[in-house]
Amino acid sequence: MLEFPFKFESCRNKKGQMKIQQMIFMIIAVIILFAMVGLFFLSTAFSSLRKSATTLAQEESMLLVSRLANSPEFSCGNAFGNSKTNCVDFDKVAGLKNHIGEYSDFWGVAKIEIRKIYPSGEKLCTEANYPNCEIFKILDKNVNTLPYSHNFISLCRKELNDKITYDKCELALLMIASEDRTNGN
């Protein structure tokens, strides 16, 4: 006689427990769904942010390269006769190479180099072979970079021939590249 109400109680308890379990599963599922949607949204937002950072970096390097030759560390000034635009003083840049540690973040780019167009070649410039070389790496941060932006320049220096000092200018490319941050480096 006494067993019946107990059986009925335990049956109701079990049903209640089932419902709580169902609800917990439901809540966990909803949270997981929200988390997944959130993660998807965040990854999309971050990838578009990285893309726009890359576009901005590329735009900046394009705008910078057109003006870099006229900046004080590169420009010829009046050292080779009258003022010239897009003229790079090779002797000054050679001096800059010795101070490049101080300038590593100055222009906000990862690579700066000068490549002679004529006479062309692949010889890298060092202290020993300067100025008889074709590629002068001014800054190289050894990181992944975006494609180079370049600008044509006249590369001028002082030369000595038979005790006569004269100005020598050659056609060259001033090339800069920004760091590629798209891979999360």
Binding site: S66, P72, L96, F106
Partner: protein, 312 residues
């Protein structure tokens, strides 16, 4: 939804419903919290992007052999540009931080975009939608940098009694907020020779008086005079210090160049003077001391003009 009433008339809600309501409230609050955070992040990223774009747009303002360049920037929303100057590091830092108006309320962001090769002279906060920017090269005695001046189109500067040279230059800039002589009420008056204006320029003693403070410039450097006119003292002094840091660095580049060109038959006469210029520029503390560095700069310039091969 069915709620039972007990015999005393109170609502009897089952545990399941109570739990669901509480869980729903928690989920909604979490969703609201994260979405508000996300909106903040989006706004910060927009501010950072706009700041970077402004910085990129300043690149074409670098002068070649022009005496000045001018441009304007229009931003769709009301924007506050915070000009931040810092002298730490090799060259100091120029940062700009943007706050934009959203639903008529300023949304402040912590993201500042920094540059090492730019020198912006302005008030600490510039507010508006349209901003005029002009740049002038600064030579001391060789080219040091291009100075950029940013003014909001909301502010009109009225120049009274300026010299012909200054008037010509301002007319050429063709900026609608830089007015000559015919001042209106609410204009910021810039007076030359007379006192009691918002900004007083003394061309004899080479200083600009603004908000009861004096900012000094040197002879033959109108670019520094403009810098003082458009800047707050704190920004001006900081940028002067940064410019002198660059004088120090570029002097050492010319020292290197001199020793390199000496092997090619050029003279070696400027080493000591360049060293002195570099040292005095390094030790400058405020604009008042610019005169001392100017003496060294003039010495170096004379020396360069007397050389067979010019260094700059």
């Amino acid at each position: 939804m069915k709620f039972k009433k007990n015999s005393k008339g109170a609502l009897e809600i089952s545990f399941g419903w109570l739990f669901a309501i509480l869980a729903g409230i928690v989920i909604i609050f979490i969703a609201l919290y994260f979405s508000s955070k996300l909106i903040n992040v989006q706004q910060e990223s927009i501010s950072a992007q706009t700041g970077k774009e402004i910085g990129s747009l300043l690149n074409p303002l670098e002068t070649g052999f022009e005496s000045s360049q001018t441009t304007s920037i229009t931003i769709p929303t009301e924007t506050k540009i915070n000009n931040i100057c810092d002298i730490d590091g090799e060259f100091g830092t120029q940062s700009i931080q943007l706050d934009q108006k959203s639903f008529n309320k300023w949304v402040e962001t912590d993201v500042a975009v920094s540059f090492y090769n730019k020198y912006i002279f302005s008030e600490k906060e510039i507010i508006g939608k349209k901003f005029y920017i002009f740049s002038k090269p600064f030579n001391f005695p060789f080219k040091i940098a291009d100075l950029m001046y940013i003014v909001s189109s909301n502010e009109r500067y009225c120049f009274v009694g300026a010299t012909n040279e200054i008037e010509n230059e301002l007319s050429k800039l063709n900026q609608s907020n830089l007015i000559l002589d015919e001042c209106n009420e609410g204009d910021i008056q810039v007076c030359f020779g007379t006192k009691d204006c918002d900004i007083n320029v003394n061309l004899n003693l080479n200083y600009v008086e603004k908000n009861n403070t004096k900012m000094y410039f040197v002879d033959d450097s109108p670019e520094l005079m403009y810098a003082a006119i458009f800047s707050e003292k704190k920004i001006y002094e900081c940028q002067i210090k940064r410019l002198m840091m660059r004088v120090e660095k570029i002097s050492s580049l010319y020292l290197e160049k001199e020793s390199l060109t000496q092997e090619k038959g050029c003279d070696n006469t400027l080493g000591i003077d360049l060293g002195m210029l570099s040292e005095t520029a390094k030790n400058i503390e405020e604009s008042k001391e610019l005169e001392i560095v100017k003496i060294e700069a003039d010495n170096v310039d004379e020396g360069n003009n007397a050389r067979r091969c010019f260094l700059w």
